[in-house]
Amino acid sequence: MDRRHFIKLTAISGTTAALTACGNPEHQLIRFIPEDDLVPGIATWKPSICPLCSAGCGVIARVMEGDAEVFRNGQPGVIRMGLAKKLEGNPEDAISQGKLCSRGQAAIQVTYHPDRLANPRQRTGERGSGQFADISWDEAIKELIGQLDALVAANDQASLALLTKPRRGRRLDLLAQWLQRFGAKAPVTFELFSDDVLRRANEISFGAAQLPTLDFEHARYVVSFGADFLGTWNSSVAQSAAYGRMRQSGPGGRAKLVHADARLSQTAGNADEFVAIKPGTDGVLALGLAHVIIANNLRPANNAGRSGAAIEGWAGGLAAFTPAEVEKKTGVPAATVERLAKEFAAATPAVALVSGAPLAHSNGLFHALAVNALNALVGSVNVPGGVTFIPQPGPAVATRALNEILQGAAPKVLLLDDVNPVFASPAASKVAEALKRIPFIASFGSFVDETSAMADLILPGHSFLESWVEAVPESGSAKAVAISAGPVMRPLFDTRPTMDVLLQVSRQLAKPLAPALPNTFEEYLNSDRAGASKDAPLRYDTGASKDAPLRYTDPLFDGDAAQFPYHFLPYASQTLSDGSTAHLPWLQEIPDPMSSAMWCSWVEINEQKGKQLGIQQGDVIEIASAHGTLRAPAFLNPGIAPDAVAMPVGQGHTNFTRYATGLGVNPIGILSPAVVADTSLLAWSSTRVKITRVSGPDQSLIMFGGATRERPDETHGRGDEH
């Protein structure tokens, strides 16, 4: 640009500014009378609960006066009201301890998202097309009641199904009661990264079917088998806080963290020692450690009691798991196994944990049982610095798995409660096709996503900041926790709290549900407060388990090793999780802690393997499994096994708000629909793939930094040992 152009532009923009400043009405929208009496400029902090994962972190929201665009009486306008402006961890909360993860910080964007549904909608286009027309609440509720009344009239109440997230708490209790009184079966739950394998293992090993709480703070030695406990697994805020205290050098010196995995995750990056291990063999390493401990008389085998009895060959000292055998199966050198075992037994308390990819193999249950037995062997169960379980107020509500309604008789009416199985299931599972066969689907979520686009009716709920919320965290604290909190702000739009809509429906059915349920969710929470606070003592079931001892079986992989030479390892994104938070732009914007990539998908390939194959950073790679193909840019990672490729889950949405739609690709789509043995949970780590270089960089790899800045220590393995 030359000076002449600059002057011209300056003059033009100046004139434009002067003209637009003339009589510019600040708001074209009408203004409503404020509903609150607020002191302008003064902030108040109100408690709430983060809804973005199952940890149930207590948060506080900073509420200040502000102008908001709202819907009142079906009319858009502006109102001065108390608005939640910032979320922080609640210092009084036992789980969050005043801290909050990036997802929790970004949760504020749920309420103010520009694509949030502001009023009920009815489908006008084809199923899945996402075309809806506005309708009134009266019409919407009448439609829903009509569908439910028709089921009652046909005496077919069992054909109603409700699909929700597997979040333990009083909300799920109330949903279950609602369904039971209607005559329908238990709620159906769905979560891609479900921990049900671990719950099942804990039931077998300890008689407690729930997630463990790990006392990192007091542990002296931690061995993590694939558990990304600092990033995405379980109660990551509580775990990170405890880990921070563990690292502050207690009386016995700095505790050690060992991480075994096929890929350098965020937690692995924090570890003192990274042990590269073949996918699907983690339990073998755990039993290898147990073998050395028993063989060297560091602990007696019968220390493990019931947990040991769950493993075949435990009483005989695990003869099949000598360090040499372990090396053959896992690729971890025998000397490393010996050393880790001795360190693990010498440091007290020492604790092992497993989750994530190891449990998403056909033999997932075995790995969990093996780690449980290792913990029991060194006496780290129910002691400080070990594994404990939070006492729960009551038994968990019985739920059903999604497969039950996909493969069995299809329900006639499906209620969707903010779950997105169409996105988070392999294409081969044909979830969308199964949903198309359901005659009527009503969704209660706040956004149109791949699943709710299939709905006939959308009855959008309030955001969590506008409604009563509750959580009964399953893990993350040494003591029982049950929290509930009221709304921190008035609703912006013409939405209604989902639970209150269902309770209203229960009263207005042709044959109202009996005995009557509370009028509102608030009433239910307050009536149940006494019950929830009961600190029920945890009863460990130490008697003999009725389950037969489990024998190790090699993991089954989908795809022939010759044709599909690489393990495909999808993993939960630090920010986008299973994709359910991909619509929040702050989370898209945050660079991934390991790769620094943002707003995109990428495929992690071993650096040296990439060189061999002529693949450079950013090159477009095609990944093909027996079930589909996808293309994404390559990210060369020195910390991944040479026979594996990894991809973060979360991107690849086809219909999920303006910020997530059309970004990246969804690795879940090409997975095998195989399940973990004895469960109906997806074995998402068991697919094999082949890779082909398609072209040079296509600019789709967006990175904040240049490459991985720190490399794993050469002496401790760099993922290419096997």
Binding site: R4, R31, V39
Partner: protein, 211 residues
């Protein structure tokens, strides 16, 4: 685009020069014509402002406007509310501008505040009847704020300590008893604040106001 030679860059078109001259003249005229400056105030600087010409503006026009602080003194309001009438009837500032004693900002009254009195007083006036109707419909008045700071000045003002220090409202907002619709009677330049702080022996540390 190539960098222009000196020859081509040297010539400024006449219309551009004329435009710049006009803008300068207009803004200067606005400045000197500013009415309502109470007597006894600290001297204003020649241009009445300490705002800086920075690139932190959406347009060059905005930058020029901010530099010369040429804002209109009267701000359009939903209707011609008379401060004079209300104050003469014994109302005080804090009746309607709530929050000044507790917090940083002065509140602007909603229709509900008007109707506290006007549900009883002057109910026969057409404007009051309009307000009553608005309240029935749940609609509020769209007041426009008269005083504020340019965001790039990074000034934070807190009413509460000033009220506590017994600074009269009129010191900064002019004598409202003489005004109908509120107008910018005082130009709140930095020297205006600093002089008063000096006089009252209040802190003149930068961080008192700029943070």
């Amino acid at each position: 685009m190539a960098f222009p030679s000196r020859k081509t860059a040297g010539a400024w078109p006449n219309w551009a020069l004329a435009f710049l001259f006009l803008v300068t003249l207009a803004t200067a005229a606005c400045e000197f014509a500013s009415p309502g400056q109470p007597s006894g105030m600290a001297d204003r600087s020649r241009w009445g402002t300490s705002a800086v010409l920075t690139p932190a503006h959406a347009t060059a026009g905005d930058a020029i406007t901010a530099f010369f602080d040429s804002r209109p003194d009267t701000i359009a309001q939903p209707f011609d509310f008379s401060h004079q009438i209300h104050l003469s009837k014994g109302a005080v500032c804090t009746d309607c501008h709530t929050g000044v004693e507790q917090g940083p900002r002065a509140g602007l009254p909603s229709v509900n505040t008007c109707m506290i009195c006007h549900s009883q007083i002057a109910t026969d006036r057409p404007l009051i009847q309009q307000l009553a109707k608005m309240q029935e419909q749940g609609l509020d008045l769209n007041w426009n704020r008269v005083y504020d700071y340019q965001p790039q000045a990074h000034v934070r003002f807190n009413h509460a300590p000033h009220i506590a220090a017994k600074v009269a409202c009129a010191t900064c907002h002019g004598n409202q008893q003489e005004q109908t619709v509120a107008r910018r009677a005082v130009n709140m330049t930095m020297s205006f604040c600093v002089n008063c702080h000096k006089e009252k022996q209040a802190s003149n540390d930068c961080l008192t106001c700029h943070y």
